[in-house]
Amino acid sequence: MDTRQLILELWASYWWLSIPFGFMVLGIIRMVVRGDIERKRLEVIKTYIDRGMDVPDALKRETF
């Protein structure tokens, strides 16, 4: 059995795996992106505190 045929056969049996796998990839993207935004948000809060200014309410809640 050549490789092409093997791939086609595997795909025919396990195509549905592409859906949970796709969701997993989406979940990972969201997690990474959200984590980075939270890190940046904390950085901005730190800038405010370092300068002795009031932190705006909009920065106090989750933003993503």
């Binding site: 969701f23 989406l26 940046k40 300068r51 705006p56 933003t63």
Partner: protein
Amino acid sequence: MEELFRSYWWLIFPVGWMIAAAFESFGRYHQRSGTLKLLKTYAEQGKEPPQALLDMLKSDEQRAYDYASSAYGGYDYKPHGARHSWWQIVTFGALAVGFGYYGQYGGGHEIFTALALAFGVAALSLGVIAAIRALFGSKRQNTYSDKDAE
């Protein structure tokens, strides 16, 4: 190749949706990080940021709430779950009836009857949850009101 497309063309829809969702994530990330960068610049210069810039950090849920309670909206905003449960029950119920009919009387494969059962159970469970929520749920509203949202 053509045969592959004929068999799996419908996969374009879920996969396309996933690609769109990934783009949405990246777009939102870009917008949020740009806003935060600008806010940092304002803070470093010791200036008060404009309200419009702070408003850009709101989530869709907060935005929807603000719109609903504004002069344009003028209706009570309900949180995500409560808003959609009745539509979900109707949708799942309709799918159950359709698949059940096709599987039992329309000459469809048995898998359609199985799908009808699954959707039926989902509709029933959602119905029970919605009923419990309607009977015993707290009547809390204005969940997203805070100083900013005014």
